[in-house]
Amino acid sequence: MRGPDVSWYLIVSAILFSIGAAGVLLRRSPLIVLLSLEIMLNSANLALISFARLHGNHDGQIFALAVMAVAASEVVVGLGLIVAIARKHLDLDVDRLRVLRG
């Protein structure tokens, strides 16, 4: 097997995941939150593909493809929501969108 060891890929994946999680938790613009979510998903894809390579089969790759499809759909819905909010001239700020509080 050539190239760096699989643990390197996993470390990169963990770093990406942490960056994404931090973005989701800390940023207030919904656009950035969505972006951060994408980063988390792609970090998971990276981990899946590296495990697929480690085990020498294609299960992980197929799973990664499915994750991409889900991510694309999710972006469509998320962006749609953001556009709808913008059209209503509401603030694009996740802390202000809290009508669902109990």
Binding site: A21, V24, L25, L26, V33, V94, D95, L97, R98, V99, L100, R101, G102
Partner: protein
């Protein structure tokens, strides 16, 4: 023979189901004809069975036909079986014959009622139930029919359900009948427990080996059922109120058929009553008391149907008297003639009520003879038959009961005296009604409804049954003339399964004639007194305010039952509501809802609406899971 019996039983049921299933897809008139034809088909079935039976010898007239085993529990079996014997065929003929005429009459009477289809479905259901009762081959099926007629009676008394009084009357009838049903069911439990069977023949045979206490218990339970269904004292208060139902219902259920079921039961179960002579005497005594009390109360009633209802109670009292003393043939004979003339009286009264646009108060009637001459004649014949004037039907049957009472010794003499007093009362109240309603000057109400004779006294569907019953009320008694010929008595002999002789008492010819003279004489005296007071009005109506008030309150029976049963019951339930229901049951339920609401409020606090809180919660949960997985491994 059995095929006729099955046809007789099932035709009305098919009629009821057909009307129900077709619903609004048929006209009201079609529903009425389906019902009428189904009951006449039942009559045809009864006739087939009757003719077939006539062609057989005495020994072969009894047949049990079982469709299938309906119920089996261990040793106990009860089949869906019919018993066809002279007694049940007699009842089948009366129920389906008189029933058919009354359903035909209903077509005219109920014309234009918005819920006619429901009415006719109920009528067919009633006829089916009543036939089930009289054809039942064991006590269990008899109880089924017994309960079903109670249900049909409830439905039909409360037919005009928008009237609160009708609904109350229906409930009253149902509750009092349920009391009798329960007592009967207890008697059957004792029978099952002690003899292991409810088949008539086997149960009667088994009852012979029981101790006196058990036989008395069984007979008492049966008597309680009979008393409730036949409106005898002390369970009689529902019958006058039941007059809230349509008049044909009163004629069919509360005069001709259902209320006489108690008499049928005593006759059918007579081996048990013979083993328990004290209970049989009690039945005869209750009959005597009822015939007097009902006769006295009928004197002051002002509702045309209620007067006839009290008269029905009184006449059933005679039947109980006869059946209790062992004169079964005579009791059944009076049952038959009574079905004719009492249905006739009710239907003639129905013609009057129909003519006067549903007015039932006799104080507003009078002088109807000019407007309704034929109804007057029908009513007169019915009244004469009721009083027992020869040669009309009531004469033969009532006098035969009284003669049997005279012939049965000391206790019987007492009942005989009561019966004679009842004959006097019968003449008085019957002709009071007749004179007030038909004679004298036409009242304001009558003149107002005098639309000439443009459409006669009623549509043909109403007048034809009245005419037929008028003829029957005249000739119905001729099948048995005391001392001369007894085809009716011989026909019923043997009266029920496993008996050899017809009646326990057989009056001598002298007793027969003495009775006839006395009873007819007293009846005529009653009529004469009624004529002097209400007809020619030479005597003023005697007024004793306290007596009158007592009678108008029907001897305070309703008030007594209210005070003894209803009010304490209501008080206890009020106490239970305040002491148990509200604090314990209501309180605990309230506590549960309050707790759930508070918990939900507290949980709601956790939902801040901040996206970051949720995300953090998810992340923290994942972190905890990771830690858990790692430590477990």
């Amino acid at each position: 023979m059995t095929a006729g019996a099955w046809l007789c039983l099932l035709a009305p049921l098919c009629g009821a189901l057909l009307i129900t299933a077709l619903g609004e897809s048929i006209s009201r008139r079609t529903a009425a004809w389906i019902s009428t034809l189904s009951v006449f088909a039942a009559f045809a079935g009864a006739l087939i069975a009757f003719v077939d039976m006539l062609g057989r010898g005495h020994e072969e007239r009894e047949a049990v036909t079982t469709a299938w085993t309906w119920l089996a529990a261990g040793e106990f079996h009860a089949g869906l079986s019919l018993l066809v014997d002279p007694l049940s065929v007699t009842m089948m003929l009366i129920v389906s014959g008189v029933g058919g005429l009354i359903v035909l009459y209903s077509i005219g009477y109920m014309d234009g009622d918005p819920e006619e289809r429901r009415y006719f479905a109920y009528m067919s259901l009633f006829v089916f139930s009543m036939l089930m009762l009289v054809e039942a081959g064991n006590f269990l099926l008899l109880l089924v029919g017994w309960g079903l007629v109670g249900l049909a009676s409830y439905l039909l008394i409360g037919f005009w359900h928008e009237r609160p009084s009708a609904v109350a009357a229906a409930k009253k009838a149902f509750v009092m009948n349920a009391f009798g049903d329960a007592a009967m069911a207890l008697a059957f439990f004792v029978l099952i427990w002690q003899t292991g069977t409810l088949d008539f023949a086997a149960a009667f045979e088994g009852a012979g080996g029981l101790s006196q206490t058990f036989v008395d218990l069984v007979a008492l339970g049966l008597l309680a059922g009979a008393v409730a269904k036949s409106a005898q004292i002390p369970l009689h208060t529902w019958l006058p109120d039941a007059m809230e139902g349509p008049t044909p219902v009163s004629a069919l259920i509360h005069a001709a058929t259902m209320v006489t079921a108690g008499v049928y039961l005593i006759v059918r179960a007579h081996p048990i009553f013979e083993l328990a002579p004290s209970i049989a005497d009690l039945a005869a005594g209750l009959g005597a008391i009822t015939l007097l009390v009902a006769g006295v109360i009928a004197l002051v009633q002002t509702d045309i149907k209620r007067v006839i209802a009290y008269s029905t109670m009184s006449q059933i009292g005679y039947m109980f008297l006869g059946a209790g003393l062992g004169a079964y043939g005579n009791g059944m004979f009076h049952l038959m003639t009574h079905a004719f003339f009492k249905a006739l009286l009710f239907m003639a009264a129905g013609l009057v009520i129909h003519h006067l646009a549903n007015e039932q108060d006799i104080r507003r009637m009078g002088g109807l003879r000019q407007a309704m001459p034929r109804t007057y004649i029908a009513f007169l014949i019915g009244s004469l038959a009721l009083v027992g004037i020869p040669p009309l039907s009531g004469f033969f049957s009532k006098d035969s009961i009284l003669a049997s009472a005279l012939a049965s010794g000391g206790y019987g003499r007492l009942l005989f005296a009561a019966g004679l007093a009842g004959a006097l009362l019968t003449g008085l109240y019957t002709f009071r009604l007749l004179f007030i309603v038909f004679l004298g000057e036409p009242s304001a109400l009558v003149r107002e409804h005098d639309h000439g004779s443009a459409h006669g006294e009623g549509p043909w569907t109403m007048t034809v049954p009245v005419a037929v019953l008028t003829v029957l009320a005249v000739v119905g008694g001729w099948v048995q003339v005391a001392g001369i010929w007894h085809p009716f008595g011989e026909w019923l002999d043997p009266i029920a399964v496993g008996r050899e002789h017809l009646a326990l008492v057989e009056p001598t010819v002298t007793q027969d004639y003495v009775t006839s003279v006395l009873a007819v004489g007293l009846g005529a005296v009653g009529i004469a007194v009624a004529w002097m007071i209400y007809g020619s009005r030479k005597w003023s109506v005697p007024r004793v305010p306290s007596v009158q008030r007592t009678l108008e309150h029907k001897l305070w029976f309703d008030e007594l039952y209210d005070a003894v049963f209803y009010n304490p019951g209501e008080r206890i339930s009020g106490l239970l509501r305040r002491g148990v229901e509200e604090p314990l049951i209501g309180g605990s339920i309230e506590g549960v809802t309050l707790g759930a609401r508070e918990a939900a409020g507290a949980l709601g606090e956790a939902q801040t609406g901040y996206l970051r809180t949720y995300a953090l919660a998810i992340a923290a949960a994942v972190a905890v899971l990771v830690v858990v997985f790692i430590t477990v491994q």
